[in-house]
């Protein structure tokens, strides 16, 4: 029997809920003002700035070496890649020729950073969707990468190992051995990640067909990184504009066309395999050479604009330096991947449930200081 439509359909008003600065699913201090009707989301209006530390204003008064130290506080999960972006931009300005050894080491460390970031993302995505064990599995493996970073770069998270002109000092003698150990260990653990979460029916129901972003919208919103590649928009900077040693390694760019949360999840998991294979291709033949091209103490970029983009774990980070020839830049702008991805959140989350918004945000993998700068 058909569902009898009650005459006086009880009208429910929309109201506002703060998915506010201090919220477990906000991955930091992102405030989303949700207009909701019951459980369905009518509108998502982000209110940013709760971790805006005015990095771009500081860069206008800092020397180029000092800017490098600020960038890894921006997207702290791909801190090495951010540093590399600024160093490459400065080296492009100075037309410095970087020895091969530096390029290969930078690429290996970038891929290790990407792995560490994807591990944390995987652990926290599981936790957001309700599976707490993924957090402990992911952080157990992440500790191994942190030990490698600590031994070579001296810091676990914000490692300022890159300076314009190369690396601060050479790699640790048993860096190669430990990286090989880690790669062998993690190759046995990554299938464990798949067994733990990817096949779980609850997880699939929570993510399949949730938050679909079509390819045209992905381009129109300027989305980049695994979020774009999950919607069929191949935007990998490592392929389109290869930098450091990415032109001499062969790796597959993973692109999926479904565009839903599960596709973004799969893209990142497969990207971890690609990162492992890149490290394997490079770790055995690190060319000899010095680890630094000495530059003048006070770096002065010639007059002009320099734009360098790199592929961080979250997407394309672009460093735009407009220099007028003296020791600190005239204007520095960081094209942050998180900020453009956030512009697509409202379009994707509209009409879904609040629970879907949590899994969508986990699949977008926001790092809020990267958005607020």
């Amino acid at each position: 029997m058909a569902e009898i439509e009650t005459e006086n359909k009880i009208k429910s008003e929309e109201y506002f809920v703060n998915m506010g600065p201090q919220h477990p699913a906000a991955h930091g201090v992102l405030r989303l003002i949700l207009t909701i009707d019951g459980e369905t989301i009518v509108n998502v209006d982000p209110d940013l700035g709760y971790i805006h530390r005015s990095i771009e204003k500081m860069c206008e008064r800092d020397s180029y070496q000092q800017i490098v130290h600020l960038t890894d506080r921006m997207d702290y999960l791909s801190s090495h890649i951010n540093n590399e972006a600024v160093c490459l931009a400065v080296e492009k300005g100075l037309q410095l020729e970087i020895p091969d050894r530096v390029k290969v080491i930078r690429t290996i460390l970038s891929e290790l950073t990407r792995l560490a970031s994807h591990q944390l993302w995987w652990g926290v995505m599981g936790m957001d969707v309700g599976a707490l064990t993924t957090y402990f599995y992911a952080f157990r493996d992440r500790e191994m990468i942190n030990d490698i970073f600590e031994e070579t770069c001296g810091a676990r998270l914000t490692m300022n190992y890159n300076i314009p002109g190369g690396l601060m000092y050479d790699i640790h003698p048993n860096f190669v051995k430990r990286v090989k150990e880690f790669v062998a260990h993690f190759k046995t653990k990554l299938p464990e990640y798949d067994r733990l979460l990817s096949g779980n029916i609850i997880f699939i129901n929570r993510t399949k067909g949730v938050g679909v972003l079509s390819r045209e919208d992905a381009i129109s919103f300027g989305v980049s990184g695994p979020v774009a590649r999950g919607s069929g928009f191949a935007s990998d900077v490592r392929k389109r504009h290869p930098y450091s040693a990415y032109d001499r390694v062969s790796f597959k760019e993973i692109v999926m066309n479904e565009g839903d949360t599960l596709a973004r999840y799969k893209v990142r998991i497969l990207e971890m395999w690609e990162s492992l294979s890149i490290i394997e291709q490079l770790i055995d033949n690190i060319p000899e050479g010095d680890h630094l091209v000495p530059t003048k103490a006070v770096i002065k970029l010639p007059k002009g604009e320099f734009y360098q983009r790199v592929e961080t774990a979250r997407g394309e980070l672009g460093v735009y330096i407009n220099s007028d020839g003296n020791k600190n830049p005239y204007r520095v702008k960081f094209r942050s991947p998180g900020f453009s991805n956030l512009s697509a959140l409202n379009h994707v989350a509209k009409g879904g449930k609040i629970g879907d918004l949590v899994s969508i945000m986990a699949s977008f993998d926001f790092v809020i200081p990267d958005i607020d700068r």
Partner: protein, 153 residues
């Protein structure tokens, strides 16, 4: 499409432009304030150029003019250009919005308004995104002074 062909094609559109390539790696167009919106719409609509990706919007303060620099790319034709636009009026700077052409501009223009004070005509809800609504002054301008918070070194 190479830069020369782009320059030739865009010249046929009849906008008053300055095109330069020195000092930057991109082909840069400086367009007038009035026909910014029309120029951008043509850039995206014309199948020969089809700039469908706006990947970077930078607010700029060149000393006496305020302006915005748009980095545009075409995903299928694989070429990139930079469009610059300036406005000399520092009290109430006003530019056309491009968020009806590229959806991401909505957020980026809010950011430029927040830090430079450039209002965008036609923007759906132009508000301060990062700073508190009652923040006076626009921090990224060169003449911004704030002794209360800033410890200058």
């Amino acid at each position: 499409m190479s830069n020369e062909e782009l320059i030739k094609l865009i010249d046929t559109w009849g906008f008053t432009l300055q095109t330069t390539e020195e000092g930057t790696e991109f082909l840069t167009f400086t367009v007038r304030k009035e026909d910014l919106h029309e120029f951008c719409r043509k850039l995206k609509a014309d199948p020969a150029t089809h700039f469908d990706l706006l990947f970077c919007v930078t607010g700029m303060d060149w000393g006496n003019e305020l302006g915005v620099i748009y980095h545009l790319a075409s995903t299928d034709l694989k070429h990139e250009i930079v469009v610059k636009v300036m406005t000399a009026d520092r009290e109430t700077p006003e530019l056309d919005t491009v968020c009806d052409i590229w959806r991401t501009a909505e957020f980026h223009e809010m950011e430029v308004f927040d830090f430079f004070g450039i209002r965008f005509k036609g923007h759906p809800n132009l508000k301060r995104l990062f700073l508190t609504p009652d923040w006076d002054g626009y921090p990224l301008r060169k003449d911004y002074v704030d002794e209360a918070n800033m410890v200058i070194k």
